[in-house]
Amino acid sequence: MTSLPTTVHKKLGLVIDLDTCVGCHACVTACKGWNTQNYGVPLSDQDAYGDASGTFLNRIHAFQVQPDPKLADHVPPRLAQTIHFPKSCLHCDDAPCVTVCPTGASYKRAEDGIVLVNEDACMGCGLCAWACPYGAREVDEAAGVMKKCTLCVDRIYNETLPEVDRQPACVRTCPTGARHFGDLADPDSHVSKLVAARGGMDLMPEQGTRPVNKYLPPRPKDAIQAPELTGDEDILAPFLAPVAEEPKGLLAWVDRALEKI
């Protein structure tokens, strides 16, 4: 068994906006590229040009949300949705993957709360992956060691990089700006403010892992003019009150309108 630090000074993590994630997978391959070339052993791919299966620290799942069929004629409409859900290690405060580790290879850094694997001490037993309720850890088949999101610990403090680039590869590359990085222990940080403003959520809070990463929920959808929709045409479309029904009447209206310009 491995212990968690009694106090962490910072809680570095990600805030992921599900309202703007289009599921483009930029974060997935940027992560794969950085972490293949950097921290620890490269992320390998088996049967890479056949029925491939490789190691990824960040994956995107797409979910379909089905409305209740009873609401088919609801106003506003209740339509099916697609949600793209990026998932990587959430750097939990109570990380079960750390406490389950028999060798001390898994650990949570006291200075910033990042959960890491010391690959030199990892024997690839996979207990941590079993313990993680999010499925955020993957054993690298080639090296036989456990791989997981490092929050790009070798980028965020990297003095060879310009300061603006000292952020995780997934955040730097995200085209929609759906991924945010910062200190969630600091209520004044950009990420904490986003969480407060947008109702940021824990993933599976019932697991008691107290994840540091937060998800911003999608805004309500399919709501154009929703409050006014009662079935009456003028109320349905208050900006569409007809000025005329026939071409002649409309052209006369245009003449009157143009006089005013």
Binding site: Q37, A52, Q64, P175, A223
Partner: protein, 941 residues
């Protein structure tokens, strides 16, 4: 706690080299981190270039996986000549000298006798101004790139209507727009700019609306989704126009000043009926409210009336606007009348129209910027309507696509949101109306160049590419009566026409970067057969095929001679103002690629190969007076070629290095680009950034920088005069007359105002085929290229047929089931998956995931080879025979755009095939490069 000590500052690479991505057509700037190793320089990591105007540092999944493309095992290694039968994939590697000798032995005789026997077509070519120049020098009329099967409707619809379209032509005013409406499949056109824009406008509180049968990607984050029935976008748009007109929610001031809405249309019967009235100098006439008489639209002080009539010779000329009102106020376009066909309830159509009206007119934007228009009138402010639109193939790849694209632009123009703050903005060299583009040229002279550029914009029957006997001058039959305004050519018809010897036989087919034997052709199985068909004497029906590609694609197997291209990190390229630059709404910009690492194979950039082949053939422009090569390679051409004096492929650092746009060639130009990060930006002055078609400051700036040689202001043309000219021909006017069998279709479809018709009615099947089948391109995959990428293929290695809930339940499908999908043309058997967020009468799959066994260096157990499939087998390049036995091409009758998305199918549940492989099985090709390794763990040490 015993935390290990980490190296928190590892060096990423030894050097950053900045170039341009080519993992798709988006052309983002990239920082390539290179390590110097014992085996030479190696690429260690690729990320977005923060200074680059296109992507501002971000990079998509494809770009971030570039390292796997650059090192893909499918890369070709050397020139090859075919040793087995076509399609077998059996080749022998040869030298470049031998390759050029073979090519010249085919090309030299046909250039001397009949250059049109060469058909040279390029696919995802980003050097079209160069490759078309080569073809022009060769003298063949048979050149085009892939626009005809991609989205010519979008480009031509936009250019004919307003002098530019979406994507490369313009973009939403992302900083200011409040309502962004996205039509159709567009996930990689644009790629990163749209993602960045959606993120930006959402952060600012704007609303994104998706109009698309499939709710994935951008539509998944759209605040509102309209799951339109494919092919009915035009009807939906015209219904929105109906609602807005009826409510008077149109920008009357904008329409009267900047469009042809006030132009008077000739009401006299005869050869001019329905054309704009013009003065002797060709200027369209409007009724001036101030002087109560007809005047030129651009006269100083003119006050154009939208509603006036002009009584002349016993007839009443009315304005374009009056014609529009009459047409679109018709109850035929009321939401209730169209709802069932478009698959959206009437009240939601009305709600969308109301939201457009609300944002356009209640949230008007006014910028405090003075500007002067082309009539000399100074405006104190710039007024804008913050509603913007974007569309691409989803609306254009239908037989009614040209008119649908025009309808969308008409909607934008009606609310005054084109080139105004918060709306849609052009990017240089656009705005540029059809009238100042070249016309097409097709005059062939043995041993001499063509008489001008191949592609252009026709303005009436006189501009068609017809021979004296009325037959098609081009092998693809572009610019003929069947599809007169085919501005990008019709690459999708080349193979079947060449095979049929119709309109004539050719000798050599020369393709670049186009997987015509696979996902880039309709009727894939048929195309494979045409490419390998033999005559009775055993020779091939299409005698010679030359192909250039960097990778071992399906098309490689069907060529006789392979010219292996480099990867995008090993090559020179210019993303040029002469064809498809990387401009922004507020800046002209171009870019280069340069070899950030050297090839480790015997390969050459295709453009360099063309230069060397051109010199060997002695083509004008490619040799000096003494016959020696004029350019060493493509880099030499990029710097030293001048299209007009002082204007070359690259605009930056010309002359002594300080001139932008115009200036003599500068031998240090490429170094200057490299030093600047691979691109050049020239900002547009603030008072010139909006109202560009009419803004004197913009027009002057454009002349100064060399976009055109004199100011060319114009008004938007809601009334498409060229369409009316073709209609007049169909009605019997003029010397050049269409064949009788096309008259009725021309009259019906070539309406000068946007119309809609049901494109599926021409596909036959007697009502059996009622479900639309579509493909869309994943954001993390670019055509067939991505499949050889070990990382990307793990994201998109499988492509089931996605089935909406209603059909899923009706057919009793369950997870793991298979379906037989039938069209009037063929059938496929494929795995299915359930997708609720989908138009209830549409099925779809990811584009180009399925692969032929042996291609792309994949192993035989790759899911793409087994379960992967193409819908292309169901689509024919021709429509079913009509009563008279004629078969029309499966294309837009106006532009010839391939109508991929008109495919209607029937589906039925079937038992899974015993081998669990999709059908049809198209056999196997040998891989000239072997197969990829079993394991990849790509760390550069």
């Amino acid at each position: 706690m015993n935390q290990p000590k980490l190296n928190l500052s590892p060096k990423v690479g030894d050097e950053i080299r900045k170039t341009t991505c080519y993992m798709c057509a988006c052309r983002c700037g990239i920082d390539v981190h290179v390590k110097h190793t014992d085996q030479g320089d190696k690429v260690a990591y690729i990320e977005g270039n923060r200074d680059h105007p296109v992507n501002r540092g971000v990079l998509c999944a494809k770009g971030s996986a570039g390292i796997m493309q650059h090192n893909a095992p499918s890369r070709l290694r050397a020139p090859m000549k075919r040793t087995g039968p076509r399609g077998s994939g059996e080749f022998e590697e040869i030298s470049w000298d031998e390759a050029y000798d073979i090519a010249a032995s085919w090309l030299e005789p046909i250039r001397r006798t009949d250059p049109s026997k060469l058909a040279f077509f390029t696919g995802r070519d980003q050097s079209q101004s160069f490759s078309s120049w080569w073809a022009q020098a060769f003298g063949t009329p048979n050149y085009a790139a892939h626009g005809g099967f991609c989205s010519v409707n979008m480009a031509a619809g936009g250019i004919y209507t307003m002098g530019g379209a979406f994507w490369e032509f313009g973009q939403p005013d992302w900083e200011r727009t409040k309502l962004f409406i996205l039509f159709g499949v567009a996930e990689d056109h644009d790629s990163n700019p749209i993602k960045m824009g959606i993120g930006k406008m959402k952060a600012l509180g704007g609303r994104v609306v998706g109009v698309n049968p499939v709710r994935s990607g951008y539509n998944a984050v759209a605040d509102d989704w309209f799951g339109v029935t494919p092919g009915t976008d035009g009807l939906l748009i015209l219904s929105l126009v109906h609602c807005l007109l009826k409510a008077g929610k149109v920008d009357l001031d904008y329409l009267s000043q900047f469009t042809d809405a006030p132009v008077l249309i000739d009401a006299r019967p005869g050869a001019g009926h329905g054309l704009p009235l013009k003065d002797d100098d060709g200027h369209a006439l409007v009724w001036c409210r101030a002087e109560n008489r007809p005047r030129c639209y651009d006269a100083e002080g003119v006050e154009p009336s939208l509603t006036a009539t002009w009584e002349q010779d016993g007839v009443t000329h009315r304005t374009v606007f009056a014609h529009m009102v009459e047409k679109y106020l018709s109850a035929d376009y009321a939401p209730e009348a169209v709802a069932e066909r478009v698959g959206i309830p009437a009240r939601r159509i009305r709600a969308l129209a109301a939201e457009i009206a609300r944002v356009a007119f209640e949230e008007e934007i006014v910028l405090d910027r003075e500007w002067t228009d082309f009539r000399g009138r100074t405006h104190k402010t710039m007024k804008g309507r913050p509603v913007s639109f974007h569309a691409m193939r989803g609306i254009s790849a239908h037989a009614n696509g040209f008119q649908t694209c025009r309808a969308l632009h008409m909607l934008q123009i009606l609310i005054g949101s084109v080139e105004t703050p918060g709306g849609f903005r052009f990017k240089p060299p656009y705005p540029k109306p059809a009238t100042i583009h070249p016309k097409p040229h097709c005059k062939v002279t043995p041993g001499a160049p063509l008489d001008g550029p191949h592609l252009g914009f026709v303005h009436g029957p006189a501009d068609l590419c017809l021979k004296e006997d009325g037959s098609a001058a081009r092998i693809d039959k572009a610019y003929t009566w069947e599809n007169p305004m085919s501005a990008h050519g019709m690459m999708h018809m080349v193979i079947s026409n060449a095979h049929a010897g119709d309109p004539y036989e050719i000798d050599t087919l020369f393709f670049y970067m186009a997987n015509m034997a696979w996902n880039s052709s309709m009727n894939t199985s048929g195309t494979m057969k045409m490419l390998s068909d033999r005559k009775e004497d055993g020779s091939y029906v299409i005698p010679h095929i030359i192909y250039s590609d960097a990778y071992s694609s399906e098309m490689v197997a069907y060529a006789d001679l392979i010219l292996p291209d480099t990867t995008y990190l090993e090559r020179h390229d210019c993303i040029s103002m002469l064809d498809r630059p990387i401009c922004e709404a507020e800046a002209a910009a171009d870019a280069i690629r340069w070899p950030v690492v050297e090839p480790d194979r015997d390969v050459r950039g295709f453009q360099t190969a063309l230069i060397q082949l051109g010199a060997k053939l002695g083509l004008p422009g490619f040799v000096k007076d003494d016959g020696s090569p004029k350019f060493r390679d493509y880099a030499d051409y990029m710097v030293n070629h001048e299209r007009r004096p002082g204007v070359g492929p690259l605009m930056g650092w010309r002359g002594n290095g300080s001139q932008t746009g115009r200036g003599a060639p500068n031998p240090n130009q490429l170094d200057a680009y490299i030093e600047n990060g691979g691109f050049c930006v020239a900002h547009i002055p603030e008072d010139a950034q909006f109202y560009k078609p009419w803004n004197r400051a913009y027009q002057d700036w454009a002349v100064e920088i060399g976009l055109f040689d004199k100011a060319s202001p114009y008004i938007f043309t809601l009334w498409c005069e060229p369409l009316r000219r073709f209609q007049l021909a169909a009605e019997g006017h003029g010397d050049r007359q269409p064949p009788d069998h096309l008259r009725e279709r021309m009259k019906a479809t070539m309406d000068p105002l946007p119309i809609w018709w049901d494109p599926s009615s021409a596909h036959g099947g007697e009502g059996r085929f009622t479900i639309t089948a579509l493909t869309q391109r994943p954001m993390a995959m670019y055509h067939s290229w991505g499949t050889q990428n070990a990382w990307l293929r793990q994201i998109h290695g499988r492509n089931p047929l996605y089935v909406p809930t209603k059909l899923w339940e009706a057919h009793g499908f369950a997870e793991g089931d298979w379906a037989r999908v039938t069209s009037p043309h063929g059938e496929i058997t494929v795995p299915v998956a359930h997708m609720p967020a989908l138009n209830e009468n549409t099925v779809w799959t990811w584009n180009a995931i399925g692969k032929r066994k042996g291609a792309w260096a994949l192993h035989d157990n790759a899911p793409e080879v087994n379960k992967g499939f193409l819908l292309n087998h169901l689509i024919h390049e021709l429509l079913p025979p009509k009563k008279d036995g004629m078969r029309w091409s499966n294309s837009d009758p106006i532009t010839g755009q391939a109508a991929w998305f008109d495919l209607k199918v029937a589906i039925e549940k079937v038992a899974p095939p015993a081998d669990l492989r999709s059908k049809p099985d198209v056999g196997e090709q040998k891989s000239p490069v072997g197969k990829g390794p079993n394991q990849v763990a790509w760390e550069v040490k």
